[in-house]
């Protein structure tokens, strides 16, 4: 039986195994997408393998729903495990990877892991680094104006903190006339594509940006489930109650490099799932065989989904005209592409 206390504190076995399953499902899904990129079934791949410990911990503690009484999520392109933890379907990411018309996020228009879920306040993920830290200002103002405990969450990478949008987010989050209930997350994987963080960033820790305002800020080991789950819980509780900002830096691995552009090959960094499984077994929360079953089930899930998606149609050429505006295109809008 599970040892109480220990490395997982008050987290119970059911929660731990739920987290484990989500982490594995996310990993298997990303590995499938990488493969689809390699075989030419999809194009560019970018995603979150290596961030599952942190991202699942985040996804499970979000107040999910539509409108300003719920959390707003301004994500970047590595939050697949967060989406799965929120309840997203594996198949939808495979749809986006294959660019089929049934891709519910972008209709086959955007790269994989560029989500958009209005029902859960997941605003459109954009490839433009750091702009989500600017739009997060707006969703956080909406949360601030609305009675209740909903907050805005924004995620991005270490490299992106060099952009002015990160500055804007910090400045606006700390406005004396309206402090914002916003959890500002930076996932530090120590690289921006090929550029090592320590060559370009003079901050000792990214969370040191909080010192300017004396704001709540912390750096954690995002490869550790227990630390991540507790830190996200604490930070969210603070934002929800105090209606103030919190800066959370999570140090994570980047297990398949930056993206398919750099080969998407497995690298030798800490694997948060392996680490977690070791502890689960050591503490008696699970047996090795149980955990292996989780992997094979996740694989079967992805296989099924993949088979299904292969039968689905690609978007039609004419569909480019859908959604230019919220209403249909005016009849005299130029659509010929010239004369």
């Amino acid at each position: 039986m599970a040892v109480s206390g220990g490395p997982f504190g008050t987290m119970d076995g059911a929660l731990l195994l739920k987290i484990h399953t989500l982490m594995v499902r996310a990993r298997i899904l990303e590995e499938r997408c990488i493969k689809m990129g390699r075989t030419g079934e999809g194009y560019f791949w970018i995603g979150g393998p290596g961030e599952e410990a942190f991202n699942v911990s985040l996804g499970l503690q979000i107040k999910k729903g539509q409108g300003p009484r719920y959390d707003y999520l301004n994500f970047h392109y590595r939050n697949s495990a967060t989406l799965l933890a929120m309840g997203a379907a594996t198949i939808d990411s495979i749809r986006q990877m294959r660019t089929v018309a049934t891709d519910p996020y972008t209709k086959g228009r955007n790269f994989v892991n560029h989500y958009c879920v209005p029902e859960w306040n997941v605003v459109p993920v954009s490839s433009t680094i750091e702009t989500q830290y600017s739009s997060a200002i707006g969703t956080a103002i909406a949360n601030a104006r609305t009675p209740g405990d909903a907050v805005t969450i924004v995620t991005g990478g270490d490299g992106g903190t060099a952009e002015g949008d990160f500055h804007s987010c910090l400045v606006w989050a700390n406005r004396p006339v309206l402090p914002l209930p916003i959890l500002i997350i930076v996932v530090n994987n120590h690289y921006a594509i090929s550029v090592p963080e320590q060559t370009q960033h003079g901050e000792k820790k990214i969370s040191d940006w909080g010192k300017v305002f004396g704001m709540a800020a912390r750096t954690i080991d995002g490869n550790d489930v227990a630390e991540s789950y507790a830190a996200v819980g604490e930070a969210l509780a603070y934002c929800r109650k105090e209606r103030k900002p919190y800066l959370l830096e999570a140090v994570c691995s980047r297990l398949y490099g930056h993206s398919s552009a750099s080969g998407a090959n497995r690298v030798n960094e800490t694997d948060c799932i392996a680490l977690f499984e070791e502890k689960l077994v050591a503490q008696g929360f699970a047996k090795k065989e149980d955990l292996e079953k989780v992997w094979s089930q996740a694989l079967a899930e992805v296989d099924d989904a993949h088979q299904q998606v292969k039968k689905e149609p690609y978007p039609s050429p004419e569909s480019i005209w859908e959604g230019v505006y919220a209403e249909p295109l005016p009849p005299s809008y130029p659509t010929k592409g010239g004369s």
Partner: protein, 352 residues
Amino acid sequence: MANMVQAIRLALHYGEENLGVREIFGEDVGPPLGGVFTATQGLRTAWNSPLDERGIVGAAMGLAWAGFRPVAEIQFVDYIFNVIDLLKLAANATWTSGGRYKTPMVVMTPTGSGIHGSIYHSHSFDSIATKLHGMKVVCPSNPLDAYGLMISAIKDDNPVLFLKPKALLRVKGEELIPGEPADEKELRAMIDAPIGDRSQWKPRWPDVKEYAVPIGQAKISKAGSGATVVTHGRMVPVALEVAKALAAAGTGDVEVVDMRSLVPYDWELIKASIKKTGRVLFLNEETEITNFGEHLFRRTVDELFYDLKVRPRLLCGKATPGIGLSPALEYATVPQKTDVERALRELIDEPA
């Protein structure tokens, strides 16, 4: 009659009371100033932002996605060039999300020259604005249209860029806004903040009514059968003045089309006018290398080549890196009345 800033203020007041506008903000937009041109004076939901255009547009996007129907201001269009990426995101969010997200927000900003504004208070923005596909772009030439376009912009479920011609902001209208007191002194006393300490001041709002100028509808400001001028914003009164003078002198019967909306634009009305007159001048303030008028010009040649009596014309700004402060420099750079006269003369006089 209300001038254009008063008209915009009244429309924003109508918007916050009746159309769900919950946040009006930007640099100096809240009290005490109420906007560098006073367009947001006295508004209940107007507030000052940090000096940060990226934060302003980012905030507007987020608020739009949350359904707050924000109206954000960029203090001068000259200072919009560090947020083109964010405007693009606002414009493409609906399309990118496969139609699932709407981005109902208004970004308003003073545009154009004519106030001795020098290099950074004289910019026009039409060609870039019309390239932010998914964004609607409007530009009024008089207070009543400003009122009606702002109400449409607020109600629209798409992002709308509302260009305010700097040089026309203090020009009074010729038509009353529905609900506006007939006496303009009374209006001023009701809604203009006093000089000096205004910490205790509150506006008394007239009971203005909904009046929408639909986005995408141009207007024939002066009918004519001899030639068409297609223009907008600050150049409308100039074109009208010249057209009326020609009519009075009996030397030309010019139709003036005020586009009001740049995108989507009223191609049906423009086309009908050009078909009727067979002669057209596109007129705007922006510089000539890649000018929005060139788009209209090209479409005219594409679709109306055989209706044209003479080749179409463009009159616009010179392709210099800026507009100089010394008046001779500005006058040599941006079309002036005499330039419009000359261009129209040539257009009319050319044998068909």
